[in-house]
């Protein structure tokens, strides 16, 4: 009788343990379950790239600041590109950047150009078939002592010679720019923060695809 009772008791305990373990596993897997309903759609490039004489307007994410890009043809065949910013409160445009460009090195406005606090913007231009990125303040003040802009690529190459920048995607915070890199031999590299508070590069454990 006692033998049967022990057997029943043991079976009950093991079943209970398995039940609780099962619940724990099921709760964990439920979070990761994905049910794709449709196939992917093509991604659309929302980049604003003025390639002829025209004016482009880009709003900050909160709509409080506006960046205007004006391309004006010069007599020598180059375009004079003028970048200005104005705020909702103060409608006076502040010229933050001007450059004479041609079709090969035109400056464009990438997606996510404004920092979340609207204090900075980053821009992109082509140089010998390679994208280069510059950062500027939206109030036209020096971003670094004696300099209105920072060119990310050059600074990165000075500090991280084993990686090359493939993309600058946006802002991870007020002063953190998100950078994707590859290794020099073409393998996928890590993402980095470019920290504007001290102009350092912080290697990240995950990549912003």
């Amino acid at each position: 009788m006692e033998k049967h009772r022990n057997k029943f008791f043991t079976t009950f305990l093991i079943a209970g343990t398995l039940f609780i373990a099962g619940l724990a596993i099921s709760a964990r897997s439920r979070v990761e379950r994905e049910v794709p309903l449709r196939s992917s759609l093509a991604s659309e490039d929302v980049q604003v790239k003025a390639i002829k004489e025209e004016k482009a307007v880009i709003f900050s994410p909160d709509g409080k600041y506006t960046l205007t890009v004006y391309n004006a043809s010069q007599t020598n065949g180059v375009l004079l590109q003028t970048f200005s910013v104005f705020s909702e409160e103060d409608k006076t445009p502040v010229k933050i950047f001007e450059k004479e460009s041609n079709a090969q090195n035109l400056v464009s406005v990438p997606p996510n150009t404004f920092s979340p606090d609207n204090k900075y913007i980053f821009l992109r231009y082509e140089d010998s078939g390679k994208s280069r990125y510059i950062v500027l303040r939206t109030d036209a003040k020096d971003i670094k002592e004696g300099s209105k802009l920072i060119e990310i690529e050059t600074l990165f190459a000075e500090k991280q010679s084993n990686f090359v920048i493939t993309d600058v995607t946006g802002w991870g915070s007020y002063s953190l720019i998100v950078i994707n890199t590859d290794t020099k031999d073409g393998k996928k590299g890590p993402s980095w923060w470019f920290d504007l508070s001290n102009f350092s590069f912080i290697r990240l454990s995950s990549r912003f695809n």
Binding site: T17, V35, F59, P61, F208
Partner: protein, 231 residues
Amino acid sequence: MAKKRKGNFPYVITGLFIVLTSLGIFILKRSFNEARCANTLSCEESLSFSVNNDENAIFNGGKMNPPEIDLSLLTGETSVLGSATTSSDKRIEVDLSTQILRAYNGDTLFMESRISSGKLFPTPTGEFTIWRKIRSTKMSGGSGAGYYYLPNVPYVMFFSNSQVSAGRGFSLHGTYWHNNFGHPMSHGCVNMITRDIKKLYEWADPPTTAEQKQSNPGDTGTKIIIYGKAP
């Protein structure tokens, strides 16, 4: 001697049961806490309307100023005269693979916007409905370097279905702490550009204007279809 050993057997099993049960409960509690809410620390609090204009936000280790919400503009009313009828033709589609949201009224595209879906914790896929809209709330979660505290998260539209319960707090909402749309960044919610979600908030059902604190309790709203796999 053998009898004594046999007599201890139930106690050994009982001890083992207690240890394994405790372990099971620990794992279960951890999984539950991670799974239950999109924002693990604020959890139920993030489902409620709140304005904290005097607080700083914390994200990626940095302090930030959340957008001030003008309480004098907000009304407690939860219904809008003349727009109480809901349109079943409205739907919001979120493609996680391209990180693009599109809102349609029938076949007409109302809006297209880049979003940021879940990075560390995935955004659930499936067909949902908006069950609540609130003008502002507080969200917090994570730990260590990943800790975040975000008061005044604007234009929050919570969604749920039979598999993803309302209490887990998944939502579409405005974002003032990053500008990296088009790339996964969130803890499971759908982060949106604030100027875009403001328009979507006013367009989507249940009917609410930007000046209202929240939608009517129990009102169900626009369908949200989330699909694809985030990059």
